[in-house]
Symmetry: C2
Subunit: 516 residues, 2 copies
């Protein structure tokens, strides 16, 4: 369409280009109107008791209050935010076995011990915009970060830049496929011309020689960098394909390609706790900290919640409805009036054991010495990952995520004492960054499965559970609704908690309106 035609169409659409575009189906993807929840306010106030002041609970209270509900929030921890947990100077944590630690990080430093990353399609961003919480890039993939694998054959115990392995693997893959196509080894439904185009692209992408061999590439990096004048740089030979196969790096690459992990990712400026704080600033209802729920009871007209107050005294509160965001691992042990199928469902969902560690260093050697600005190094040692900060580059000190592990590795790690954890993290991390030992100042170690009001990282459904128990968990049980990341298709992501709360708020509000 010509611009002139377009402009006349715009005129015909009451001056709205956007309306004109929609009429023309010019937007191949649906344009996102504001994702603000637009629900009908209520006339007669109702009281909703929200269990848990993580982002699921906070979002529910925030949205309900917009509609005229009165909310009361009970939180077992001494802080808001749940798994949106930013560890700062003096942050304390006590684990189920009584093991306690207190952060000694510098006052201006912090790390997100739980949720951090936000994908571009997540509704989390809409709340950041609505609440005025600034966001910035989170460098999720860094080709200059390292792989370090033990016991994987020839390439064991070496620091290898991610780009080296990736480019070599790409090169070999393209070499093999290009040759197969050229030798007519494949039963391809492609024209001869398309086959030639494909081979040409494989050659370009994989840096293959004219006779289709991969012999290394400038893209895998240099042993001597290029420079000025007559210095074109020196490249090394590639690794063997068999060595790369034995390297077994599959999980690492997959961590870059899932829909929720794909770049560009974002983070909240100043720490993930800024989101929960922004919610709290808007919430009028009382948030009671250190108030663990003891019983969840149904009444003839609503709910009654028994909890302990800060003086460890049993208190009781009644409301018309309850939104319960307590993790299932914790909820299953709380005496309740849930129906028998609901109780069974609550008990049946396994949670991810996972640990995250923050390490404060005197100097940002990963930037100064290793030239790594954000991103993740991967290892098959217990620590699994090292995250480099995407902010405050070249400032004096910094905090690395020194470990982020899962399942058996996290279990093993969580069973260590704080001192043993520190030793392990420094010993394994120093294989990748020998500077660790000289520059280390202090650490904070968070095994989520050992925190009494979390008891795990996130819900782990398999396909079968999604079909059987998951629908049950999504049914309100009389006046009680469950919400949280575990009631969404984004387990472990902030957006899952928010989507779930929005869904439950809409469901509850519809019910209230239908009752008149």
């Amino acid at each position: 369409m010509k611009r002139r035609d377009f402009l006349s169409l715009v005129a015909a659409s009451a001056g709205s280009t956007y309306a004109a575009m929609i009429a023309l189906d010019l937007l191949s993807q649906p344009a996102k109107a504001s994702k603000k929840l637009e629900l009908k306010p209520i006339n007669q106030p109702k009281t909703v008791i929200v269990l848990g002041a993580g982002v699921a609970g906070l979002c529910a209270a925030y949205e309900l209050e917009k509609l005229g509900y009165h909310c009361v929030i009970l939180e077992a921890n001494n802080r808001i935010g749940g798994r949106c947990f930013t560890v700062r100077n003096t942050t304390k944590s006590t684990e189920i076995d009584g093991q306690t630690q207190q952060s000694t990080f510098d006052e201006d430093l912090y790390f997100n011990a739980g949720a951090t990353r936000i994908a571009q399609h997540h509704v989390t961003l809409d709340y950041c915009q609505e609440l005025g919480v600034p966001i910035e890039p989170f460098n999720h993939v860094n080709e200059a970060a390292y792989y370090y694998q033990v016991d994987v054959g020839k390439l064991s115990n070496k620091k290898i830049r991610i780009r080296e392995i990736k480019q070599d693997f790409l090169g070999y893959k393209n070499e093999l496929l290009a040759k197969a196509i050229n030798q007519d080894a494949l039963d391809l439904e492609l024209t001869k011309e398309d086959q030639e185009k494909l081979v040409t692209f494989l050659q370009l992408e994989g840096n293959l020689s004219p006779d289709l061999f991969y012999k290394g590439s400038r893209n895998r990096g240099y042993s001597t960098l290029p420079g000025a004048s007559l210095n074109p740089g020196v490249i090394e030979s590639p690794f063997d394909l068999s060595a790369i196969i034995q390297y077994g790096f599959s999980w690492y690459i997959l961590n870059e390609t899932t829909f929720n992990h794909q770049i560009s990712l974002l983070q909240i400026v100043g720490g993930i706790d800024q989101l929960s704080k922004a919610f709290v600033n808007k919430i009028k209802g009382k948030i009671s900290l250190e108030s663990p729920v003891q019983e969840i009871r149904k009444t003839t007209t609503g709910v009654k919640i028994i909890y302990l107050d800060k003086q460890q005294k049993r208190q009781s509160i009644t409301g018309d409805y309850c939104i319960c965001t307590i993790p299932l691992t914790v909820l299953k042990s709380i005496p309740s009036d849930f129906s028998q199928p609901m109780k069974q469902a609550i008990s049946s969902i396994p949670y991810m054991a996972t640990s995250k560690v923050g390490l404060q260093f005197k100097r940002r050697f990963w930037e100064e010495d290793d030239r790594i600005f954000g991103g993740i190094s991967y290892t098959n040692q217990n620590i699994t990952q090292i995250f480099y900060p995407s902010d405050h580059f070249f400032s004096q000190k910094g905090i690395l995520v020194g470990a982020y592990n899962y399942e058996e590795k996290a279990q093993y790690f969580g069973n260590l004492s704080i001192q043993e954890r520190e030793k392990l993290v420094l010993q394994q991390g120093s294989k990748i960054h020998p500077q660790y030992l000289e520059e280390f100042e202090s650490g904070f170690y968070v095994p989520w499965h050992k925190l009494p009001y979390n008891l795990g990282g996130w819900a782990m459904y398999n396909t079968d559970m999604r079909k059987t128990v998951y629908p049950q968990l999504n049914q309100p049980d009389d006046h009680i609704y469950l919400a949280g990341e575990h009631l969404s298709y984004y387990p472990g992501w902030i957006t899952g908690s928010l989507e779930s709360s929005r869904h439950v708020v809409a469901q509850l509000n519809e019910r209230v309106h239908s009752l008149g």
Copy 2:
């Protein structure tokens, strides 16, 4: 090595972990000590005339002054920075044919019309650190940005998210290769076990079915996003392999994988001009703006430069040495005493024609509607690329790089009037972002090959030129040294200019010392 052993080694290495590590060869990549140029200062002051106040010239003056040289800098333009050019409110530019424009961008908005991106291995970062210029992430790759191709078969004239094409292509590639391996169609030097591992990984990475077919993937995105409760999202069928081949997207992917383009990339907070400003703040020598060089002459003991002053009067200045950073395209027309081989070399290097455009919009629709935070959309239309800003997310307005094209496309674009350029950019860009027409406020259009003191984007050497004329250009011609991106293996990158200046400063200083 055990930590205890390591610590005793550290003790033995005079307490320096770092020395110990180096002794042990624990650092598989050379640790980067400070890249500060450490050269021997001179006793008898010498005068160096620096031609050009781009970063090459500024860096040369900065480094020379550290050593005791007296520098005088002549700049033809009315601003410093050269191709590190940040267009702000009221920025003016005049092209060789007299076409003039003045920016009407808002006061707090800007765009980098030339160099922007910094790779992690670039010495540019060392200068940012040394000069206290803050850096931040530059989102170079965004899987949610678009491809939009015209005349490429079935997928023409569609907005396609990058992830859709990439994941489909990966899937088909892996399907074909996995099948070829399973059918023993390839003459592989791999054990049976390694072949199985390879197939398993290809399957995982490419999201192949158990029988090794690619049938689409959640990683390519959803037509209905997953959400809370019972909404797992809806995925669409993949594109045909033949359609993808005809799509011809090769260049785009290659733009993500070269060593200098690989993520993580960085940018300077507040605009690339902050780097040149930081140099200027440290330089004591006089920088004369609007002082185009008219003649470059040799004297018996040094150099004599004739230039026009702001009143268009011919002035002459003499010095012991000259560092000339003038682009070869401009230099070749300046009368000079260069040797005949040097003159020939200067005249023989082609430069890239390239244009960049900044477009100010009332609203950041790419973030609000399209959920794109940084990164680049690609098209085979004239505009070639759209860059989304990696900073100030969700602020009210924003500037996109609305075109960044090369060669014939840039030539064509540069030959248009400002009004025609605007029309072209809006018309082509609105194919990808129909919001353009409603939200556009103002633009600024920079064809580098038409700016009188640039006459091109960067030097374009082929392999042959690197062998023949390039060494000649790197030889000092009596007391005159050439420097700039064109005297490096990083053509078009800031780091090339800096590396070249550092090299020439070291070379010149060594000569001065050797002369006693």
